[in-house]
């Protein structure tokens, strides 16, 4: 597509529930990134994919967070047993190569109540 697409744009869930957030990167972009942006802060790195594999998942806060990209295109960020502190905007970005700057999606605003 023309840009990075993220769905849903908003998600409200109850504490303890499981959620999935989807990212559809720009066609042909091999690198895909997930960031989390809390209110009043800059984006924080979560995980980076090169192709199908997670090349760097050092930003995932704990084992409740997991992400996949099975066919090297669409990625899903999965959060188990959600907590109120998980509430944030989850951003996806894709790029063509090393350090050239991302194209960001519009984000998914997750609210855990």
């Amino acid at each position: 597509g023309a840009g990075v697409s993220q769905t849903p744009s908003n998600k409200v869930t109850e504490k303890g529930k499981y959620v999935e957030l989807r990212c559809d990167p720009i066609s042909g972009h091999t690198a895909l990134y997930w960031y989390r942006q809390s209110l009043g802060q800059g984006p924080e790195f979560l995980i980076y994919f090169q192709g199908t594999g997670a090349a760097d998942d050092s930003g995932l806060p704990n084992d409740r967070f997991f992400a996949v990209r099975p066919e090297g295109s669409v990625s899903t960020l999965k959060i188990q047993r959600t907590e109120r502190g998980d509430s944030a905007v989850y951003l996806c970005a894709s790029s063509t190569g090393t350090g050239y700057g991302y194209t960001f999606g519009s984000g998914t605003r997750l609210t855990v109540v």
């Binding site: 009043g40 800059g42 790195f45």
Partner: protein, 112 residues
């Protein structure tokens, strides 16, 4: 570990005023530097980037930034702001790897 600081949390200017937003980073090696802008209700967009060469970088919408290596700084400037520049501005650093480190952001409010 890398870190990025932005001097101002919130800047308020009148239209036609000049803008300078500070950005400092901590990293001893070679870096790529970026400024992103996030307009209200929209996603992050790349304003400009520096990889090498001329330390004065020109971006979109009349923005420019100057890389001063000795000061570890990459300040964003615009000679005359417009109401439409109201947005959140993020400085980011990349150590030529895949991870970007973002600053906390500076909110710019331009009064008409």
């Amino acid at each position: 570990a890398q870190s990025v600081s932005q001097h101002n949390h919130h800047v308020i200017l009148s239209e036609a005023a000049s803008l300078e937003l500070g950005c400092n980073y901590s990293y001893g090696g070679t870096v790529n530097l970026f400024w992103y802008v996030q307009y209200p209700g929209q996603h992050l967009q790349l304003l400009l980037k520096y990889f090498s060469g001329d330390p004065l970088v020109k971006g979109i919408k009349g923005f420019e930034a100057e890389f001063i290596k000795s000061k570890f700084s990459f300040n964003l400037r615009k000679p005359s702001v417009q109401w439409s520049d109201t947005a959140e501005y993020f400085c980011a650093v990349n150590d030529q790897g895949q991870n970007f480190v973002f600053g906390p952001g500076t909110r710019l409010s331009v009064l008409p």
